[in-house]
Every structure is written in C-alpha cells, then in structure tokens.
C-alpha cells in the first residue's frame, strides 16, 4: 500500500501543475510548426521535444541537483540548507533559490554537496545544458560548422555589400532600446544585459543569439532561442511586405552587374583578414568569429577536407541534437511562463522588421550615391537568416522582373549579416557583460 502511494505520488498526474501542462502544449506546438510547417526543424524539433521533457512533473530533468533538492528535501534538510546559506528560514523555494544564486562559489559548492548528500542529482537536460551551452562550446562548434558551409565568394566579389550587413544590425540595437523603453515605462522588467540579449534576436542568427544569451541572460535563453528560430522560419512572411513598402517598382527591377570571379587564394586569405581585424579591434568577438573563420579556412584551404567534412556533418549534427535539447530545458514552466517572455516574442519580431527595413533603406542610399546599380531588395538579406533571406530577395526580385536573378548578389549581404551580428554580439558582451 505504501508502494502504491509511492508510485502514485511519484506519478506525473499527481504532481502536474497548470504551467507544466501548458508548456507541454507549447512543446507540442513547436513540434507541429517544425514538422508540419517546416519551421527550422533542425533546431525546433529538439527544442520542442526538450521543452516537453523539461516539464515532465516530478522528473526534474531540467533542474540542477540543488533545485531538485530544494523542491524535494525534508524540513530537517532545509534547515541545514538555510544554515549553509547563512539566512533565517524563508517561506518559499523561490526565495531559497534566490538566496542560493546570491552566494559565492565556495558556498555554491557546499550546497551542491549538501544536495548530493541528500540524495538529489542533476537532471539529464540540466547536464546537457551545462556541458553544451553554459560552457559556451555548442554554439561555437555550430558556428565553426556554419563557417565551413559558408561561401564568401559573393561577398569578396562585391565587398561593399558588407555595409548592408552592417545596416541590418540596426534591428538589434533598436530592439535594445525597445526593451529598455518597456522597462522604463514599467511594462517589463529587463536589465540592460537582458535587453542586449533580446536585441540579438534581430541578428537573425541562432548560434549567436544562444551564445550571447548564455552569457548575458541565461534565464531568458529559452524564449530568445525560440523567438530567434521561429522568426527566422517566418522570414518569407515578415520581409516581403516591408521590402515592397520601402521600394519602388523601378528599384525592384534594377538588374545588377555580373559578379567577378573570385580566386581561391582570396577565399583562403579572407578568413585570416577577418580574424586579424577581430583580434585588433574586438577581442570579445574572438570566440564566435574565431571559430567561424576557422571553419571557413578549413573549407577553403583544401588540405584538411576530412576535418571540414566532419565539421559540416557529424560534429555539427551531434552538437545540434544536444544544443536543441538543452535550449528546451529552458522552456521549463517556472522560468518560461513570465510576462517577460511575451515581451521577448513581441520585441523579436520588431527586431526582424527594423533590421529588414534598415537594410533596404541603406541599400537604396547606396544605389543612389554609388556608381554601379544596386537593387535595394538585397538589403533585406543583411539580417542574416542564411540562406532564407537571400532567397526572399531573389523571389521578390523575380516578381518585379522575371529575368532578374538576385540570389548570388544577395548572398553577399547575407553572410555579411552573420559577421555583423557577431560583431554586435562582441560589443554587447564587452560593454554590458562581466
């Protein structure tokens, strides 16, 4: 009979909260979008599934040993915990965890040991998160793989398109302003670090967003990653109306001159040039852009093809699986269900829209004052979202002029946008991190 009670009280039904049930539906919703609607399935399938796992009541898969112990320990153990924390008794688990977050590393270790001695352990997803994201390694490895898949040829053929990649990053900083604005009018409660992490959604680059969030605002990482990947999938819906509204029919018809061929040596030297520039100017962007350049050098140099192939396949796939599940661990109800999440989702789409608009407007400017014709539609590709945004430029261009293939031209600003948002990430980490 005791066993029956043990089994029942250990069951999910007996412990399910409304928030957990709701978050499991959110997880199923993400899976639906990924599988049925094709929303960035490589990330949203693991994220959605991880989100369901994280919210299984009683399993504590997304919690650390300490969090699991705080929820499950008996009163005598909690007394010991408050002694270790050096506080008087508090009312709720939430306050205990807040007190835990405030103590120094030595006390953290002591309390972790207390949790182990009390028979609690880290949840599976918490371990995945620690190893893959908190360490920073998973986004960096994915960035290396993306580097090994990126062709800088179109960018090298027309380096001016780097300005478009810069312009579109305005979406990032406008969103920062939006986030602090919502905070200053009292609607939300974001710190400046939170605002910076939210802004990076506008970079339209998944690994960069996850990397920055993991440093500046780990609590918001779930919402930021979900927003970033969802809106990237929505780029074909978000961008065209903005692009049409800001350009004339005549501008959309502009045909661009054929790109010059780019030599292999230029492609080999380019990642090194970029790396040196990062080293001289923005060391805080070195991990992200360094790994990106390393991947690209492996691809272009032609003498380490087996490493490049692995970086583009086995390694990036393995990392993606664990990264996705780890992001899912941040969809745990008591962290995700918060008014701030709504703010993040709202601000994220604004970021995409502003980035698109800035790119198009600067492209118009460059067309007006430049010597060679430049179709403003390729400006929107500067938000990154590689290669979707470039395809959108191509598609909108074809609507206006069926002989106008903009794809190759849009790849320049598109990969420039990746560099631009990594630079923005470095600035933010430098100014508000640490």
């Amino acid at each position: 009979m005791d066993n029956l009670i043990t089994l029942w009280s250990a069951s999910g039904l007996a412990q399910m909260t409304f928030g957990q049930a709701f978050m499991m539906l959110i997880g199923l919703g993400l899976l639906f979008l990924a599988i049925r609607k094709g929303f960035e399935p490589l990330l949203l399938v693991p994220i959605g599934f991880g989100g369901i796992l994280a919210n299984i009541p009683g399993a504590g898969l997304a919690y650390s040993a300490v969090e699991n112990a705080v929820q499950g320990a008996d009163p005598a153990q909690i007394v010991e915990l408050t002694r270790l924390l050096g506080i008087v008794a508090v009312d709720s688990s939430k306050e205990l965890l807040a007190a835990y977050a405030a103590v120094d590393s030595a006390t953290h270790l002591a309390i972790h040991q207390w949790a182990l001695d009390a028979g609690f352990g880290n949840g599976m997803l918490y371990n995945f998160y620690t190893v893959s994201i908190a360490s920073g390694v998973a986004p960096l490895v994915i960035f290396m793989g993306v580097g090994a898949m990126t062709d800088f040829g179109p960018l090298l053929a027309n380096p001016k398109t780097l300005f478009l990649g810069a312009a579109a990053q305005f979406g990032i900083f406008a969103t920062v302003l939006g986030a602090v604005g919502l905070t200053s009018v009292g609607l939300m409660d974001f710190s400046i670090a939170d605002a910076a992490a939210i802004g990076i959604i506008g970079g339209a680059d998944g690994p960069t967003a996850i990397y920055v969030s993991s440093i500046l605002a780990p609590d918001l990482l779930g919402a930021i990653a979900v927003a970033a990947y969802s809106y990237m999938a929505l780029v074909p819906m978000i961008q065209p109306p903005i692009m049409r509204a800001l350009t004339t029919e005549a501008e959309r018809k502009i045909e661009m001159v054929q790109l010059r061929p780019v030599s292999r040596r230029e492609k080999i030297v380019f990642p090194l040039v970029l790396l040196i520039l990062v080293a001289l100017l923005l060391p805080d962007a070195a991990p992200l852009l360094g790994m990106f350049c390393f991947g690209n050098l492996m691809k272009e140099c032609g003498v380490v093809d087996r490493l490049s192939d692995t970086a583009q396949n086995a390694l990036i796939n393995i990392t993606t699986i664990f990264l996705g599940l780890s992001v899912g661990s941040k969809l745990v109800a008591d962290k995700f269900l918060d008014i701030n999440t709504l703010g993040i989702l709202g601000l994220g789409i604004v970021a995409f829209a502003i980035g698109t608009a800035s790119g198009v407007l600067i492209a118009k400017l460059m067309n007006r004052f430049g010597s060679t014709p430049l179709n403003p539609l390729i400006g929107s590709a500067g938000v990154s979202a590689v290669p979707m945004a470039a395809r959108v430029s191509n598609k909108v261009g074809l609507e206006a002029n069926p002989h106008n293939f903009l794809l190759m031209h849009a790849m320049g600003p598109n990969v420039a946008g990746v560099i631009g948002s990594a630079v923005a990430a470095g600035v933010m980490i430098s100014l508000v991190g640490g």
Partner: protein, 81 residues
C-alpha cells in the same frame, strides 16, 4: 533608475551600432586591399578546376599495396607516352 536604464540603452545603441559600422567599413577596406594584393602578386590561372594538394602525410597509414600498384601504373603510363 528607470531613466538610467534608458540612457544605458541609448549609449549601447550608439557605441554598438558605431562599432559595427566602423568594423565592417574597415573590413571593406581590408578586403578590397587584400583582393587587390592577391590579384596583383599571387594571381592564379583562373577557372581551372580547383586542385586539392594531397596532404604530405595523411594521418592514416595508407594501404601500401595500393600505393605500389598506383606508382607502377603511373610509371608505365609515363613511359608509354
């Protein structure tokens, strides 16, 4: 305090956007210079299929029989020419 965070946000925007633009502008300059330099001093015969130099020593212990067979074949081929 609330005004303070607004000011911080504005500052972050100015310095952040400024850095992005300056950095990418320098990259335009550096890239253009690099392409010119490479084009002038290290020009490739273009449009040739990309040659992948065989690594001097691959990690693997190559199959020596295969190497021998191939060496012999190449040798014969050259002599027949």
């Amino acid at each position: 305090m609330q005004g303070n965070i607004m000011a911080q946000g504005v500052e972050l925007m100015i310095y952040g956007m400024g850095t992005v633009v300056v950095f990418l502008a320098l990259l335009v300059v550096a890239t253009t210079a690099m392409s010119a330099f490479v084009g002038r001093f290290f020009a490739e015969v273009q449009q040739l299929p990309r040659v992948r130099p065989v690594p001097a020593r691959a990690l693997e212990t190559d199959d020596p029989e295969l190497v021998a067979v191939i060496s012999a074949a190449i040798h014969r081929h050259r002599q027949e020419k």
